[in-house]
Symmetry: D2
Subunit: 137 residues, 4 copies
Amino acid sequence: MFESNVQIRVRYAETDQMGYVYYGNYGAYYEVARTEAFRQLGISYKVMEAEGVMMPVLEMRCKYIRPARYDDLLTVKLFLKTKPHGARIKFEYEVYNEEQTLLNVGETIMVFVDMKSGRPTAIPQYIHEKLDVYYTA
Amino acid sequence: MFESNVQIRVRYAETDQMGYVYYGNYGAYYEVARTEAFRQLGISYKVMEAEGVMMPVLEMRCKYIRPARYDDLLTVKLFLKTKPHGARIKFEYEVYNEEQTLLNVGETIMVFVDMKSGRPTAIPQYIHEKLDVYYTA
Amino acid sequence: MFESNVQIRVRYAETDQMGYVYYGNYGAYYEVARTEAFRQLGISYKVMEAEGVMMPVLEMRCKYIRPARYDDLLTVKLFLKTKPHGARIKFEYEVYNEEQTLLNVGETIMVFVDMKSGRPTAIPQYIHEKLDVYYTA
Amino acid sequence: MFESNVQIRVRYAETDQMGYVYYGNYGAYYEVARTEAFRQLGISYKVMEAEGVMMPVLEMRCKYIRPARYDDLLTVKLFLKTKPHGARIKFEYEVYNEEQTLLNVGETIMVFVDMKSGRPTAIPQYIHEKLDVYYTA
């Protein structure tokens, strides 16, 4: 299984008047985790997109377990629990605070899309190769 | 069943470099729909919170069917398909563009919380009364 | 002078833990005012951009006079105090709440840019024509 | 003079359909720089606020020199060019990309406010003491 971690410091901008991180902001946190997961794999999402493959989101699910607060140093763990195949990829996330309290879990299902045709496309071969090592029997 | 509609004009701020509404922004659209649904029921979420009852989100699910774009005039339909009871309430959403194309569906499960105790609390009686008429047999 | 008004309902997402609209969100409010000002002039900013002219921001100034709060129905007044010429245009803004209290004033200086060349370009002629009537002696 | 630096990786969420960081997001970047500047001084903005002193923004100015883009690793330099006194404090900012190109400059004027009274208050003494060393003759 591939797993990566990234730390995110909660910004004041991300709080709401409840004093919590606004529930709509976790999508952006998950995205930071995806970008850093790709970087850790030796892939640049930015370059992939510049080369004509983008990865829009098909589905998102979040569970809000405990609130995150301003200035919390969050750890977002990202998991690719099964090796992706075809055009879709499912990322799972866990968000922890500094006390290792689990605050939030989520998942997103993305699809690789050829930007010229606007159609789904298989996961690029070089991404497969980067992932292979994490799923050998 | 209770149903309400609200229109939201997509802001430039809400787009991303794909030229779509960023996937993380639908949570804020759903929230606008909830605030307006409450107003249509004759309830002010703002007043409810000022009186000590808040409604944090426990779960969110979204499906992204087609992209929304800058300056699209969206209609967000909100549904309370079953009459809420206990401390929880489930809102369902459908987002359409001006051509009545369904772009996004979602749901959020919220919990009423007594802000003093920090504990879940039954849906306030005055909200029950406002909702009753929509669920009579 | 050209002047337009638009109403914006403050979203929960836009508040911060002070209970105020986060100071960084006024830029998005000003942008809503610009889009609606263009529409009132019979111009679509969206179409202008699709035709290859964009209008990035060179400068922004804001003064925060009193806080805006969740669910406030704001009026953003936009002014073009002098007829634009050349490649630049200066928009001025005033933000009021429902009690007509002035909450915020701001200005942005934008530049018309030809998206192919990436260079500043004169304000499109059809915009000049729309504006002329507001500045006749 | 007090100076601090912080690095911010541009999120996809922060871009707009021009492919640039949306102009309204620099306020949040400046805020990250302030929080980290306080931390570098041995001050926690979070604790200060919990103790009853907040620091709302009175004015912001930004100049947009060149665009920031997705995945850029920005450095935000923060300067307190003159030692603050009274209730106000002026922060200046410079935002650079990895090639040390200056992308954006800005400033914010903040006021220390006693949250109980809602009135401006002198900069807390412990902040003065932390800053003294940077402004000795």
